[in-house]
């Protein structure tokens, strides 16, 4: 395999392997610890969903958890037995009263609704960037929360939707997270995503060469909405219940922190951040209820987990402003994203055999100034 193919393989297999490791460890845990592991995988799926939009577009969004919320409630309601729906949510619209969907159907429905909701929101908001985008997407989160918390015709309102079938175990959470990773990977290899990334690097230049930024942003937003909706369904099916406060501010900020700490501009960063900080978060939460590490029992005061999380977040931002992965894909540096070695080629016009300096080594072409070389350059990437 050539270096660039290896790099491509690592870009996908690195995150997948990480997900697989979590799954393997989870398979040997006690049932209660398995719940935590499933939660880590589901959270990581959300972070991958955030990455698809935020990482690729460079536009901040506080609204993606709305899509997870819509997915979670849709999947939860449609898998609850009809009789339970009638007693716990008597005001539901008729179309929410039946049918009863299977687990898989509800996951697909949640992804579809997440995408649809994102499309509606995105059509209005995708012209925005920077602070305006942050505020507007935050407003989406607020609106979604308030509607879900108060409108009892579409859900349980402020009460908890309980007795949702628990169908998401370690296996399904692993597959779900892996699917999100594969989708995100396929997307970032796409033409649309490359153009979107160009606009992230320089919006003026991107428009100037003919990139319709709004269109490509909307695509990423909708795909991100689908992944978040899907993750919301995994969430509700792993816990068997959901309250609207669970898919609101705390989840928004913790998943954003995971994305940023991991490295918001690489899939590897999103996955690593989601899983590492997910593990840390569930450990700290458990410690508030008393835990034992190496035979040492202790109990953290309530709320300390959030404070520690926040301190780590700030610390990570100061030490690694581009995240733990420095926004690189898995092994990208080792496999040939070459550091600058200015001076070796400068002015030399290319010496035989110095292709490894400026070339990516995949075809052994010396980086000499030949027109033939440029013709090859203009070919689309293999």
């Amino acid at each position: 395999m050539t270096r660039s193919r290896l790099r491509l393989a690592a870009e996908l297999l690195g995150p997948l392997a990480l997900v697989g490791v979590v799954a393997l460890v989870a398979a040997h845990l006690s049932t209660s610890d398995q719940t935590d592991a499933i939660n880590v995988l589901v959270t990581a799926t959300i972070v991958v969903g955030l990455y698809v939009f935020i990482g690729n577009s460079g536009v901040i969004s506080f609204g993606q958890i709305s899509f997870a919320a819509v997915g979670a409630f849709a999947a939860g309601i449609y898998t609850t037995p009809v009789s339970t729906r009638q007693t716990t949510m008597p005001d539901l619209f008729g179309f929410l009263g039946r049918p009863v969907l299977t687990n898989l159907e509800s996951l697909l429905l949640a992804a579809g609704l997440g995408a649809l909701f994102a499309l509606l929101v995105g059509l209005a908001l995708m012209r925005l960037s920077g602070l305006a985008a942050g505020i507007a997407t935050f407003a989406v989160l607020e609106i979604t929360y308030n509607i879900l918390a108060n409108w009892e015709k579409i859900g349980p309102g402020p009460t908890t939707l309980a007795s949702v079938p628990v169908t998401t175990g370690v296996g399904q959470a692993t597959i779900g997270c892996a699917v999100a990773v594969v989708v995100a990977f396929a997307y970032q290899r796409s033409r649309s995503c490359r153009l979107l990334r160009a606009s992230r690097a320089d919006a003026l230049a991107a428009r100037g060469i003919g990139v319709s930024i709004v269109r490509h942003r909307l695509g990423a937003f909708v795909l991100s909405g689908a992944i978040c909706g899907f993750a919301g369904a995994l969430y509700v099916h792993s816990l068997g219940s959901i309250n609207v406060t669970e898919v609101y501010l705390a989840l928004t900020f913790s998943t954003l922190a995971m994305l940023v700490v991991g490295g918001s501009q690489s899939l590897w960063g999103a996955t690593l951040g989601g899983i590492l900080l997910g593990i840390l978060s569930s450990f700290l939460t458990n410690a508030e209820n008393g835990t034992t590490v190496f035979g040492l029992s202790f109990t953290l005061p309530n709320g300390l987990s959030s404070i520690i999380f926040a301190i780590l977040f700030v610390g990570a931002l100061m030490l690694f402003p581009r995240g733990l992965t420095r926004n690189r894909e898995f092994l990208a540096k080792a496999l040939g994203e070459r550091p600058a070695r200015v001076g070796v080629v400068l002015g030399s016009g290319g010496k035989p055999g110095d292709g490894s300096v400026t070339g990516d080594g995949s075809d052994g072409t010396p980086a000499a100034a030949t027109t033939a070389h440029v013709t090859a350059v203009a070919d689309p990437e293999p």
């Binding site: 153009l195 160009a198 690097a201 320089d202 003026l204 230049a205 991107a206 428009r207 100037g208 060469i209 003919g210 990139v211 319709s212 930024i213 600058a340 200015v342 080629v345 016009g349 290319g350 400026t358 070339g359 990516d360 980086a367 000499a368 100034a369 030949t370 027109t371 070389h373 440029v374 013709t375 350059v377 203009a378 689309p380």
Partner: protein
């Protein structure tokens, strides 16, 4: 508000000449405002097919705003911009598909992409079914650095090299008209000379060029015709025979008149 309906007052004896014979780009009464600030205040000019036209003026004259307004990068508050007789759309991604390309000031390459990736993106807006005026080989011959550093990240190149890649990228969209904003900015005299000689050859291949520059003397010498933009208006048209000192004086002179006119 100032200058709402009043036509731009032309200084006596400095009449704008009749436009080119075969107009490609026609701008009339163009106005650009940023909040209450008037950046372009009724600019009227034209670029003909295959022409090499300069647009000079002091800082803040509205040169960049004029280019941005032509491309649709900023909103045109008033006036008409026509290309081949048809009004130009208001978004750059649509404008570039009609055969205009801009090299913005400061180059704006995609720094983390390689030179060849930058160039590939330049071909995005090519019009289908047309043989490009400049093929990849011509572009590589014009700007050897694009081949020499094809696989180098664009952000690692020097300013002059980046400028050449930026022009090459714009050329690869196969434009009929190339808009250049201060291509000499920050470049050493040798590089400026080589960039300008490349522009000359590009123009010889039939690509019209509108060159925005602050360096009046060099531009007047280089372009067949030049417009002098001061205070958001075209003050007059100059050519190679125009005394440079007249032009430079107009930077200040007309400015003084404009100040004097203000109530």
């Amino acid at each position: 508000m100032s200058g709402d309906a009043a036509p731009p007052a032309e200084p006596a004896g400095r009449r704008i000449e009749a436009g080119p014979e075969r107009p490609l780009l026609e701008v009339s009464g163009l106005r650009v405002t940023y909040g209450r600030a008037q950046a372009v205040d009724g600019a009227t000019f034209a670029v003909g097919e295959g022409e090499l036209v300069g647009l000079v003026g002091p800082n803040g004259a509205g040169k960049s705003s004029t280019l941005f307004a032509v491309m649709g990068e900023v909103r045109r508050a008033a006036g008409e911009v026509r290309f081949r007789g048809k009004p130009l759309p208001g978004r750059p991604e649509d404008v570039v598909r009609l055969g205009l390309a801009m090299v913005p000031e400061g180059r704006h390459l995609f720094p983390s992409m390689t030179v060849q990736e930058n160039l590939q993106l330049g071909r995005l807006a090519r019009r289908p079914g047309r043989t490009p005026r400049l093929g990849d080989e011509e572009v590589a011959t014009l700007f050897p650095v694009t081949a020499e550093f094809a696989r180098r990240r664009a952000g690692l190149l020097s300013g002059g090299q980046q400028q050449q890649v930026a022009i090459a990228r714009a050329l690869l969209s196969d434009p009929d008209l190339l808009l250049l904003d201060e291509p000499s900015l920050g470049l050493s005299p040798t590089i400026v000379a080589s960039v300008f000689s490349a522009l000359e050859r590009i123009n010889a291949l039939g690509v019209a060029i509108l060159l925005v520059e602050q360096r009046a003397e060099m531009t007047l010498e280089f372009c067949a015709r030049s417009y002098v933009l001061v205070g958001g208006r075209i003050r007059f048209e100059a050519d190679r025979h125009t005394n440079v000192e007249t032009v430079v004086a107009s930077y200040f002179g007309v400015e003084r008149v404009a100040l004097g006119n203000r109530p």
